[in-house]
Amino acid sequence: MNRRFFLLAGLMLACLPQLSAQASWQQIPIPTLREFHPQQPKRIQLSNGMVIFLQEDHELPLIDGLARIRGGSRSEPAAKTGLTDLYGEVWRTGGTRAQTGDQLDDFLEIRAARVESASAPDSTMLSWSCLKNDFEDVFKVFNDLLRNPEFRQDKIDLAKGEAFDAISRRNDDVSGIAAREMTRLAYGADNPYARVPEFATVAAVTREDLIAWHKAQVQPNNIILGIVGDFDSAQMEAKLRQTFGDWPKGPAWQEKKIDFQPAKPGYYLVPKEDVNQSSIRMVKLGTLRSNPDYFAIQVFNDAFGGGFQSRLFRNIRTARGLAYGVGGGIGTAFDHPGILQIAMGTKSGSTVEAIQALYEEVDNLKTHPLTESEIKDAKDSILNSFVFNFDSPDKVLRERMAYEFYGYPADFLEKYRAGIEKVQTADVARVEEEYLHKDQLAVLVVGNTKEFDKPLSSLGPVTTLDISIPPPPGEKQGN
């Protein structure tokens, strides 16, 4: 019966009259995209070094702001890993000298406003979001937290409890394990980007540590403040000058040099018996966005492991049905090497087959280099979607803040477009040749070894990674 229905449906399709004059998509006109020069934020630098960006956006009655402060978890002592995570939480929850965090919660929530703190590897953040009419009230809270945080002990204890909970749960989810172990392989287990909080390192953090961190980092010359929303720039500038102008400059923040010591190429295994899908990550050290190869790398990444049209998606997912998620590329970051990675998930029973299929894709790049047409598609994709980098005032602001933070030129996005346009097939072949080598990859597998199609050791020597969680100090390893 099913078959008959299919044939019937087929007939119906064939009989539909061609109503349209257009025979195919190629005949549809694509007019020139209208000229668009997104509004740039106004940059102000106070004499104390604080950098401010003001971006007016009058569409909605909202005002949002974000202060990004130099220094993050990559700079915390290894024995206190988790310090900046706690700082990023308790900065806000611990309240100010004048008000507890709970009082701030009440004050803000009735205005549907938020003031939140957060931490990242290279910075910490304090942000707000509010309805325009509440700006004065909310900005006061923001400024008070910036200048007079209290880091109350009860909220430190609360944040530590949450951190302990996160540690105890970190091996529950395959993707979490894969992301963590992959970073350790690519950067080295002791690298500040790779190390993770432990019961002992979180327990070691004191209130004095948080206060000292704040004192050292939150100096006007370490701050980039961006504000977007329904305000008048001249009035806002006057207010900010009045608020922050007399804040004396502090010592300049110095980043420490970071060592990147990738693991040896080879196979690394995390056995996990409650899954039926293996997470595979092939990694090595990537590069920086300031690298002149960056543009060719972006084109390569798009063509090799980017979207639906990429080789990995087409061959591993569409043609072989081996994965739902598959992708990869040469990772880049602003001020440190990114991670080159090829990632996929496949059923336990095709783990080794999948690794070999990925190897074939890497080899295939040598025997069948990316074609002119694949490279054209990738460049078209990047250039035609380029406008989505700045299609809202908020995005433009965030880009500018990032360039300021990392010392990139303010017109980096324009340079990016020009750089992509210039990429030739030979450039892509060159970066592929330079960065991607099968025998340089560390291959991580998180999976259920009992169900593998072949033992991982059939591919080469395997290092089994110990991911057991060190128990809290004074407790024995339990269940």
Partner: protein, 507 residues
Amino acid sequence: MKYRVLPALALVLAAALAAAQDLASFEKRTTVKKLPNGLTVVIGERPAAPVFSFFTHVDAGSVQDPEGKTGLAHMFEHMAFKGTDTIGTTDFAAEKTALARVETAFAAYLAERDKSVGRDEEKLKTLQKGWQDAIAEAQKYVKPNEFSQILESNGAEGLNAFTTVDETAYHYSLPQNRLELWAYLESERFRHPVMREFYKERNVVIEERRMRTDSSPVGRLLEQFTTAAFQAHPYHRPTIGWISDLISLSATDAQEFFDRYYIPSNMVIAVVGDVKPAQAMPMMEKYFGRLPTRPVPDERTTTEPPQNAERRVVLEDPSQPIYLEGYHRPDFSSPDDQVYDAIADLMSNGRTSRLYRALVRDQKIASDSAGFTGLPGTKYPHLFAFYAIPLPGHKPEEMATAIHAEIERLKKEDISDEELQMIKTRAKANLIRGLGNNAGLAFQLGIYQARFGDWRELFHSVDRINKVTKADIRRVASQTFVPTNRTVGIIQTVAPPAGQGQKGGVQ
């Protein structure tokens, strides 16, 4: 503390004024048209940047999966990226014949495979080979992923789709000069879809199931929990599909599902961005007007009967404990819908929420706790659920006790003026925050138009939350949160199988 009272009053007035202004200003920029074939188009003008986003809402989700064919709605969603009779093929006439052979071969294989008595293993092997050979033959005519490739090369951003129990939706963004190209491609996709590469895509979907459900503790719990909570209504079936159904689905099934449910009157398309209705509407009429009208399918579903005994699902799992409980509630069109929203907000939103303050801040037994509505969908009667993540050393049972104490408070005591005000202000602010983004707005306009037949409900729902009273909250809590109406889901930690992740060293 006086700031808490006076500004609150001022806020009520400000919020009420602004809601009316928003709707008035939106009405000027929003155009709706129902095409003669029944398809509804919503155009929202937001000309700030030369881009647009769209959201195609199809009023068919996994609830519509036929019995024994769970996962079919989602499977079709994947097929909608496979192209048409002109896109993705080198020779459609030949491909069509080859695809028909694949179906014949698969049906023969399936018939033998599923024999419970007298299955001939040799014959099965031959039939399987015949089916695989037919697939290889049809593959010769395929231009893989051409549909997506055209879109990506033209600058598509966020190209994706999703299927829920209630609906299937397709969405992405493009530069504004590609509007006609989009209208053509999006209409072709639902005019001449071709079920090519179906059986490989089925394997992709099975991998998706392994990732989201089988290999994820939360996925495992939610599947068991939802299955237990619904016994009669199709909400008891997973959208991703049961594995035995997935390995039996055919391209014919997917085509049938499409023919039955992807009818113009089941579709709403919302476009938001740098789009002028005077130019865009004729374009939409030209392309989407071509979709043929078909009879409206029989949409009868079993109504879940009242639950009269608590149900419990305890999953013994190597992962850390989780506590979840759900209560049946009426569907989205219930006059109490906003009362449930208010309860969810009160119990869960931010650090002033009752569950955070009780379980996380004061009792220090959980790292997180919240209540939410809409599990697993909203179109039919569904669940209002609560969960808590126990801190190390605390048991799921403690979570139950603490959550029930908060529920009892809801029933017995009126919430405070400040809390009620907070809920209403937040509803308004959340509405405003959602308006500044093409993709988000297309999603909202599309879904409200589809559900209520009027996108304005997006604004009216905030007005209705403004009318929620303290008595409403006590009444609805008392009606809903009773033990016999409850399903409990627990992850109970058991020791992982021996040898897992214990030892380092070289193998």
